[in-house]
Amino acid sequence: MTVLKRVFVANRGEVAVRIIRACKALGLETVIGVSEADRESLGARLADRAICIGPAPASESYLRAEILITAARGTGCQAVHPGYGFLSERPHFQRLCTESGLTFVGPSAEAIEAMGNKLSAIRIAKRIGVPTVPGSAALDSESDVQAAASAIGYPFLLKASAGGGGRGMRIVGSPNELAPALASARAEAQAAFGDPTVFLEKFIKRAKHVEIQVLGDLHGGLIQLAERDCSVQRRHQKLIEEAPCPLIEPAVRTQMAEAALALAHEVGYSSAGTVEFVYDMDAGRFYFLEMNTRLQVEHPVTEMITGIDIVQEQLRVAAGERLSVRQDEVAIRGHAIECRINAEDPANAFAPSPGRVTRWAPPVGANVRLDTHCAQGYFVPPFYDSMIGKLVVRGDSRAQATERMAAALAGFVVEGVKTTIPFHREVLGHKDFREARITTRWVEGDFLRGQARAA
């Protein structure tokens, strides 16, 4: 193994800055590959060297595996950190790095393949006894559907086998709703996809998105850093994350953590990963959804309550070292909340709002952390993700963390582009958030609808 001295950052934005800072803390040099739109970015300034990898569109720069590898090798790097998004979960990129003599900062290509493919991940979960959302195979006849319905129980979702995007989907609440729902779902599925077969899936009325952070090394070390609750979502996009989850029973938390470790162990997982579950608030049960085989956007909330630097651990693992912490050394202290600051207009259906940031006055404080690549005068390019920062606070309790976040948001001034800050202010002040009653459908089903009524 080559000694790790220089890391290539194959990403942009706040995560590039995050990776560079972790490298600096470990005494590692950094080279960042930037598109033409990011030549003047904070990441480009902070790295020891920045090299232009192509034009602004990601398909011509950040998604060009062979260009990134040529750049990494040509600048004498030994490792490539893919961040999140872009090529971070492409097994092909992992393999290309390895074949080119570069260490991919992340799990093996086999682990990415096994867990990155949703069907494969569900199969593995079932094999080792990790609960998955109860459902049926594709069904043809009405009697089969009835049998599956009584096995899964009401309410359930009726979905088109060939479908997607909610077409042919019905919520069936009771046995007498089944026949008409099935008839219309089959007709719609036949019309839309030319295939009338359907399958059943348990409908979780009040669901929370809860995920477990895992970390593994190449020496058999595998630990979990507790859970994050990412239920404040809009169109499956997480907006606010917190750790720990405010309403999970300790016994369930332990089971969930053990399930996450079992899955990670099964695929020989190394580096940082996240095992996502849906938690049924009414039944108090959890089901495996999928695993993200990379650093997660919301990793800072876990760092704030554990004191463990997840990116530094990833780099240690990539250098062939052991994790710096053992499971019995992991302790949860307090509560952390993260708000994603996106250049979007919450008053206008969250429409992207790129452009020049004419004023940037972020909050500061002992328990406030801001992960960002943004600054006054920064031009938010229209080519990429709209996230321009992550505001994170820690408190001794959830109530204190909520107060601190509300105060931090109140003092956060951004002008020139619209941001999600006003949205966060309202959510943090909302009774449902304060009382921890948020489900994954809350933003769209309750909050935004309530706002529309009030307007």
Binding site: T2, V3, E29, A47, R49, I53, I67, I69, G76, G320
Partner: protein, 176 residues
């Protein structure tokens, strides 16, 4: 890093290491010259008239002033600007043929073969001026403009970034 002892000669000399070496040399008034070779990389430092120079290591350092600033990245950018500036200083309207992609630049179609172009030669817009290699995928780079080759600014076999000037050409109305 358990295999470190087996691979002890695989040590990689970094920019920061070289800066540190030069700093140590600079702080040692009695040291006249230093030659250091690690694998393929050779650093040769000699002191003349009390000033620090690095004459035989142009691939690592261009100018001692940049070393003093301890910022190799800035130094390299300066290099690039100097090269462009040098072209501009000739007073004529030079056109830079820029790398259309990041990759390894080669002046010749293959090892041992003559370069596509040499300074002073005339080229048509379609004539290749070099190759860029991206993981063994070679692309010919056309001059893009008819004229006289003034300078080859990119080094043969070196990594060039997207948009980096490769060759400077003095456009001529019609070379036919």
């Amino acid at each position: 890093m358990s295999e470190q002892n087996v691979q002890e000669l695989a040590y990689f000399l970094t920019y920061r290491d070289v800066v540190e070496i030069l700093r140590l040399v600079n702080e040692s008034p009695h040291l006249v010259a230093l030659e250091l070779q690690l694998g393929d990389l050779k650093v040769n430092v000699s002191r003349a008239a009390g000033e620090l120079t690095a004459p035989t290591a142009p691939t690592v350092f261009g100018s001692p002033s940049a070393v003093a600033a301890e910022s190799v990245r800035i130094e390299e950018e300066q290099c690039e600007e100097n090269e462009v500036a040098a072209g501009v200083q000739t007073g004529s309207e030079l056109v830079a043929v820029r790398a259309p992609m990041l990759g390894t630049f080669y002046r010749a179609p293959g090892p041992g073969e003559p370069p596509y172009v040499e300074p002073g030669e005339l080229v048509e817009a379609d004539d290749p001026i070099g190759l860029i290699d991206v993981m063994k995928l070679f692309s010919q780079i056309p001059a893009g403009v008819a004229g006289r080759v003034v300078e080859i600014v990119a080094q043969n076999g070196a990594l060039v970034e997207h948009g980096q000037p490769l060759v400077l050409i003095e456009p001529l109305p019609d070379t036919e």
